[in-house]
């Protein structure tokens, strides 16, 4: 493949994008009732995390087990804004201190903490949703990658960070809502987000943002930076000896993945109406990794489908056989890692993509996205 004339998508890639767009923007809204559509919207918010993981883990070789941290930070930033809006002095008149969120009142906090103050403003909140997790990721990434901590050690430390943040949120009940999280969110600039209409609109916003993020990730992936990222994954030392600042690239991709996760978190808060530490800790963070792994750790499209499938399976399984779900989930982890490390996308590329290519009539058999990238040589 000619790396210099790198098209944004191959012909097949555009087809996949069109299929995804039709599925998300036409088929799901027409076929599903508002409740189910909202559920799909919730799954899509995890797909943001999975997209980030494809770049960070699949292409960059950096396994972060702390994506829940960034998902949660984004979600909490949004939740703080919504909570302040629903805690107007009129709404909270029965409290001993009106005008502050109800959980603060229950926990004998009498004044709004200073770091809650800026979240009265929506523009600030939108910036914070991206900036807070990205800065946090930058600090972690800077400290780790400039000292060449990588691989397994990085995974364990990000996991510890997830544990720390969860304990902190649960422990500081008066400021964060504790284990219940920030609940009872009602309006966004006076617009009631709890109605079915609002949820449908938010679904479209979420799906649109996801496609935008997919295009952005693809842009990163096909750029020179994306190619260097793969080179770093495969032979880090060689890239370093060639004069590139390996740490800077790794920090960037880690921050990028964190920002994507944070957008997902913010959309989650908007669509589901609350945010709690149960989306921050170790268990959800690892589950997010498995979404990306099932879809295919090298494929951006695969990540989205993997997330949808795993979550759909989780919902339908745990509705009918709650016992079986953990067995199924555990089995899925083992099977994906051992039997098909490239996930659904890998299977698709191997067995179906060639036929699609022939149908499309491309003379030269182009490699589908991801297939050209050899498996991480670890």
């Amino acid at each position: 493949m000619n790396a210099l004339s790198n098209p944004f998508f191959t012909r097949q890639g555009w087809l996949y994008l069109a299929i995804l767009a039709v599925l998300l923007l036409v088929v799901f809204p027409l076929a599903l009732d508002p409740f189910r559509l909202n559920l799909v919207g919730k799954y899509l918010t995890y797909a943001f995390v999975a997209l980030g993981l494809v770049l960070c883990w699949g292409h960059g070789g950096i396994l972060s087990l702390g994506q829940g941290v960034f998902f949660g930070l984004g979600g909490y930033c949004m939740a703080m804004f919504l909570k302040l809006e629903s805690s107007s002095p009129e709404n909270t008149a029965i409290q001993s201190t009106p005008g502050i969120p109800d959980f603060m009142d229950w926990n004998q906090v009498t004044a709004l903490p200073w770091w809650w103050e800026p979240f009265h403003s929506l523009p600030f909140t939108i910036v914070a949703v991206i900036a807070v997790p990205a800065i946090f990721a930058f600090i972690i990434g800077f400290a780790m990658f400039t000292r060449r901590v990588g691989g397994v050690y990085f995974a364990i430390i990000t996991q510890a960070v997830a544990a720390i943040l969860t304990i902190l949120i649960i422990g500081q009940q008066g400021y964060t809502g504790g284990v219940n999280g920030i609940t009872d969110l009602r309006t966004l600039l006076g617009w009631d987000i709890r109605t079915n209409d609002a949820k449908t609109i938010l679904y479209f916003v979420c799906a649109g943002l996801l496609i935008a993020c997919l295009l952005l990730s693809q842009a990163v992936h096909i750029s020179k930076f994306g190619r260097l990222l793969i080179a770093i994954r495969d032979k880090e030392d060689r890239v370093r000896f060639s004069g590139y600042d390996v740490a800077a690239f790794k920090i960037f991709v880690f921050c990028f993945a964190a920002a994507l996760a944070a957008i997902g978190g913010a959309m989650f808060t908007l669509q589901v109406g609350f945010m709690s530490p149960s989306f921050v800790g170790i268990v959800p963070s690892i589950e997010m990794v498995i979404f990306a792994a099932v879809g295919g750790r090298l494929s951006l499209f695969g990540a989205i489908y993997g997330t949808l499938l795993v979550n759909y399976a989780k919902t339908s399984f745990s509705e009918t056989f709650p016992e079986l779900w953990l067995f199924a989930m555990g089995g899925l982890f083992i099977a994906v890692v051992m039997a098909f490390p490239d996930g659904i996308a890998g299977l698709y590329n191997r067995y179906i993509a060639p036929h699609v290519a022939r149908l499309l009539g491309s003379i030269r058999k182009r490699d589908a996205e991801g297939q050209s990238l050899a498996h991480p040589a670890e």
């Binding site: 060449r148 901590v149 050690y153 170790i282 016992e323 953990l326 067995f327 899925l332 083992i334 490390p341």
Partner: protein, 308 residues
Amino acid sequence: MIGDYTYSEFFSILAMQGFAGLILFSVFVLMALGLAIIFGQMGVINMAHGEFMILGAYVTYLCSNFVSSYAPALFPIYFFVAMVLAFMASFALGLLVEWAMIRHLYKRPLDTLLATWGLSLVLQQLYRSVFGAREVGVTLPDWLMGSVALTDIVEVPINGLFVMGLTLAITVAVYFIMFRSGWGKRVRAVMQNRVMAGAVGIDTRKVDRMTFGLGCGIAGIAGAAFTMIGSTGPTAGQLYIVDTFLVVVFGGAASLLGTIASAFTISQAQSTMEFFMSGSMAKVLTLLSVVIILMLRPQGLFTLKIRQ
């Protein structure tokens, strides 16, 4: 006077907290020893280590129920049998897991993490299906109950002393197995240079399997010891796994001394700080300091100087 306490009260509280820290330290060491063997020597991340520990705890629980209903006369000494059985159960499961899963993943350490996490989910659900979701406790023989009074205020529980003694014995045993026996020499040879070790006639596959099994077996003993100081539930293993990994990484993965030193530092820091602030903040501060120190010194406290 310090605050509302007299000096003697203050020092007694310090001693008590220190002792509570020592028990925590013992559990950390027992769990971390197995992990240090598996992770430090083999480079495999075993996220199901906690579940191996819980297996040991459940074996002890079964053993205590069995003995108290069928052979009450043996009850005072059942614990020693239970420990051996706990070791054997976890060891056997470890061999099985190594054969079925781990041996295919030696070249992909990050993937061992995901696969063993899947295993841990399966085991958790298995425990829940077999033993129920509720936590179970073990009845201790009389001689393990009670406590020794050192001063008027300071009392030391006997089961805590027993756990400490056990930890000491296991640590010494591991030291001899890993650093003084021919088998340990082979293990270290395989880990340092697999190809060369194979070339001089060491069966590297067998060494891998036995090493993994030994690490899991020690987790089983840790589980048996764990039943003496806490109750056992299906998800108890998950609570400890991150702490244990931090202990191993903080100490320097391949160093036995480092593992012990870091377990000591972390457990003492936590139990001392718990006295001054809430338990959760103490935990946050402890973990945070460990993470920050690891960022400054990624290879851990004690590292072996070897050529990569």
